[in-house]
Symmetry: C2
C-alpha cells in the first residue's frame, strides 16, 4: 500500500513568476488598439482573478484546452502553508492562526481562488443544485413564478438550473440532467404534461410538484384549490344574473384544466344551469383569442369563464371583435391574476393563484425534507382569492 504516492508530484513548476509569464501571453492575445488601457487591465486582473495552468502538461502534444482554475494547492504553496490550512481558512469554525488566515485570504483574493463547489459537494453529499422545471417561459405566470422562486432559492444558496419543458427531446436531456446529484427537483407541474411530471417524480431525488399532485415516495406537493376558485367565481356570476355560460378550457394534458372545469360544473349543476358552450385553448393569449372568437360566433352566451388569464385577455379582444360589450353583453373572467390582469386596459375579474404563497410553501417543504429525507410525502393546499374587477 503506497501511502505517499502524491509526494511524487513535487516537480510542478509554479510560483508567482509563472503567473506573470502566463498573464503576459494572455495580454498579448488580446492586444489591440488600446495599448495603455491594456496594462491597466492587466494589473486589475492580476488582483482579481488569475488562471493557473499546470506546467507539466503544458509541453505535451495535446493543446492545453482550457486553463485550470486556481486550486487550494497553489494558494498553499504561495502562502507557504499546507493545503489543509487553506481549506480551514475558508471554513468558518476552523482553527487557523488569525495572522496566517489573513495571509491566506489575501493571497486567495489576489489569485482569485475560490473553493471548488463541485469537489466540495462530491465529499459532503450536498451539491446545492436544484432543478426547476417549467412549462413555458413565455407564459407570464410561469415567468413570474420562476422569478420569485429563483430569488428565494438563491437567497438560501441553492442554485436553480432552469429547464424549459418546451424543449424538443426532453427524454434524453432529462437523463443527462439527472447525472448531477441534485438536492431537489422542483416541478411547476400545473403547466407541464402528465408524462414529464411522472417521469421526473420517479427518480429518487427529493421532488416538489407545484400545481399538480403526484404520488410517490419523496414527492411533496403544493396545490391551488382550482375547483374551489372557479366554483365560487361561477356562483358569483350566477348571482349577478348570468345564465348562459361558456367555458374556455385549457390543454387536455394539463392538470389545472380539468380541475378548473370541475369547479365550473359544480356551481352550474348546483344552480340547475347548463354549460352552453365549451372550447379549448392553449393557455396563451393568441390561442385564447382564436378559441373565443370561434365560440362566440357559434353560441350566444352571457358569461365566458376562461381557464387562465392569458386566454381571458385574448377573449376580451375577441369580444371586442364581435362587438360584444364587456361586461354589458358578456362577462369574461380569468384565473391566476397575473400582473397584466390588473392593468386598467384589461381590468380583468379573476381568481388569484397566489405565487408568493406557492413559493413559500415550496421553500418550506424543501426545508422539511432536507431535515428529514425519508419522511412521508406532504401536501399543501392553497386557497385562491377572488379578485373582482370590471369584466363581470
Amino acid at each position: 500500500m503506497k501511502l505517499c504516492g502524491r509526494k511524487a508530484q513535487r516537480t510542478r513548476a509554479h510560483g508567482l513568476h509563472f503567473f506573470l509569464a502566463n498573464m503576459h501571453t494572455c495580454s498579448l492575445a488580446s492586444k489591440h488598439d488600446t495599448l495603455v488601457k491594456e496594462s491597466i487591465q492587466f494589473n486589475k486582473f492580476l488582483h482579481s482573478g488569475i488562471w493557473y495552468r499546470s506546467g507539466m502538461t503544458d509541453t505535451s502534444k495535446k493543446p492545453p484546452s482550457r486553463p485550470r482554475r486556481v486550486t487550494a494547492k497553489t494558494v498553499a504553496d504561495l502562502a507557504g502553508v499546507s493545503r489543509s490550512a487553506v481549506s480551514r481558512a475558508f471554513t468558518p469554525g476552523a482553527y487557523v492562526e488569525s495572522e496566517k488566515r489573513r495571509r491566506i485570504l489575501q493571497i486567495a483574493a489576489e489569485t482569485g481562488y475560490q473553493p471548488n463547489a463541485l469537489a466540495a459537494g462530491l465529499k459532503g453529499g450536498q451539491s446545492n443544485l436544484v432543478a426547476v422545471f417549467v412549462g413555458d417561459m413565455r407564459s407570464p405566470y410561469d415567468a413570474a413564478f420562476v422569478g420569485q422562486l429563483t430569488r428565494r432559492l438563491i437567497g438560501m444558496r441553492k442554485w436553480p438550473i432552469l429547464v424549459d419543458q418546451a424543449n424538443g427531446q426532453p427524454e434524453a436531456a432529462l437523463d443527462d440532467l439527472l447525472r448531477f446529484p441534485l438536492d431537489a427537483l422542483i416541478l411547476r407541474g400545473g403547466s407541464m404534461s402528465q408524462q414529464i411530471v411522472e417521469r421526473c417524480a420517479r427518480f429518487n431525488v427529493p421532488t416538489i410538484s407545484s400545481g399538480r399532485p403526484v404520488e410517490g415516495p419523496g414527492v411533496d406537493t403544493v396545490c391551488c384549490r382550482n375547483a374551489d376558485g372557479l366554483r365560487r367565481l361561477t356562483e358569483l356570476l350566477v348571482q349577478r344574473g348570468c345564465r348562459r355560460f361558456g367555458f374556455l378550457n385549457g390543454p387536455r394534458e394539463f392538470y389545472s384544466s380539468s380541475q378548473r372545469r370541475t369547479g365550473v360544473l359544480q356551481a352550474l349543476t348546483q344552480a340547475g344551469l347548463p354549460l352552453v358552450a365549451e372550447a379549448r385553448g392553449d393557455y396563451t393569449v393568441e390561442g385564447g383569442h382564436a378559441a373565443a372568437l370561434e365560440l362566440l360566433n357559434r353560441h350566444r352566451i352571457d358569461a365566458l369563464i376562461c381557464a387562465n388569464d392569458a386566454m381571458a385577455i385574448g377573449a376580451l379582444a375577441a369580444a371586442r371583435a364581435v362587438s360584444l360589450d364587456v361586461p354589458g353583453d358578456l362577462a369574461v373572467t380569468g384565473f391566476d391574476d397575473i400582473d397584466m390582469a390588473g392593468w386598467p386596459i384589461f381590468n380583468l375579474t379573476t381568481v388569484r393563484n397566489p405565487i408568493d404563497q406557492a413559493v413559500d410553501a415550496i421553500i418550506h417543504l424543501l426545508d422539511l425534507r432536507q431535515a428529514e429525507p425519508k419522511k412521508a410525502p406532504d401536501r399543501i393546499d392553497l386557497d385562491p382569492v377572488m379578485i373582482e374587477r370590471g369584466t363581470h
Copy 2:
C-alpha cells in the same frame, strides 16, 4: 386609475402555523387512502431507482442524513466487473465486449445508476454548467430571452443556472455562485446595472455580455445597434410630420437607455428639431404609465418615443387617460418588439430587438471560445428591425 397601486397590497397573513395546520390535515388525508398502493409503489421504485447506503457508516452515531446515490462501484459489484468496465460502458467510443456492456447497462437501469456529473467534471475540466444573469424575470423581454436561451443551451447539454439580479445582496451570492467551475457566464447586460456586469466580467470565466459591451480578456459581446434603431424610427416620425418630440428614457444605470436616447438626439439634431420633453421610467409598464402621465400633463408633444415596449404600453394607457388620440394626436413608439406589442389592442409601432439572433450569436460565441479559450474578445452587432404598426 392607478396602475402601480397594486404593488402596495402585500398581504402576508400566512406564516408557519398556516402551513403546519394545512399540511397536517392534508398529509393525513393522502396517506390514509393509499396504504395498499404504498407497497406497490415501493416495489416499483425498487426497480426504477435505488438508493444505496454505505454499510460502514450506517452504524455510526451520526444520523445517516441522506441516502447516497448509486455509484459505479455498486454496479460493478453487482455485474461482477471492474469499476472501469462500468465507466467504459457509459463512454461512447470505449472498448467493452458488447455482451458485457449490455449486462452493465441493464443493471445500471435497474438500480437507476447514472454517472455522477460532478465527479466527471472534476476530472474532465468541464462542468457543463453555465450561469445566466438577467435583470428581472417580470420583464417580458427578459423572460422571453431566458426561455429561448435556456432551450438552446439545454439542447447542447449545457445547464443554465438562472440568477435574477433583483436579489437583495448579489455580492455575497455572486461569490458563492462562482465557487462552481462554470463553463461560461452569460449576462443579459442590457437590463443589468453597470456595477454587476463589470463585477461579473472580472472573474476569469469565459463571459458573454448581451446588450452591453464590456471590456476584458475573455469577455465577448453581443449588442443591438440601439442608436441606429431609434435614429431611424425618429427619422420616420419626422417624415410623417411629427415636430414636438418627447422621450421616455429608461433607468440611468442601464446601458441601453443612453444608447437609445443618443439615436433620438441624432435624428432630431439632423432635422433641426428640439427634444421638447423628457422623463425617466423604470422599463416597466407601471413605471412607463406614471412617467408618461406626468410628461403629457406638463408638455404638449405630438410624438412620444419610449425606450422600451413595456413603457410604451404604459404610455398608451396614459394617453388614453388624458384623452389624447393615438396616433391622431400623439404618436407612441417602443423598442424590443415583445409579443405584446403585436397584440391588436396595442398594435405598437416599435423596433425589433431580435432575441433569436441574439441567442444565436451567444451560442456561436460560446462555441468559438470553447474551441479557443484564449482568443481575443469578439463582438457581434445586431441590426434592429423597424416594425411599423398602428401607433404612429
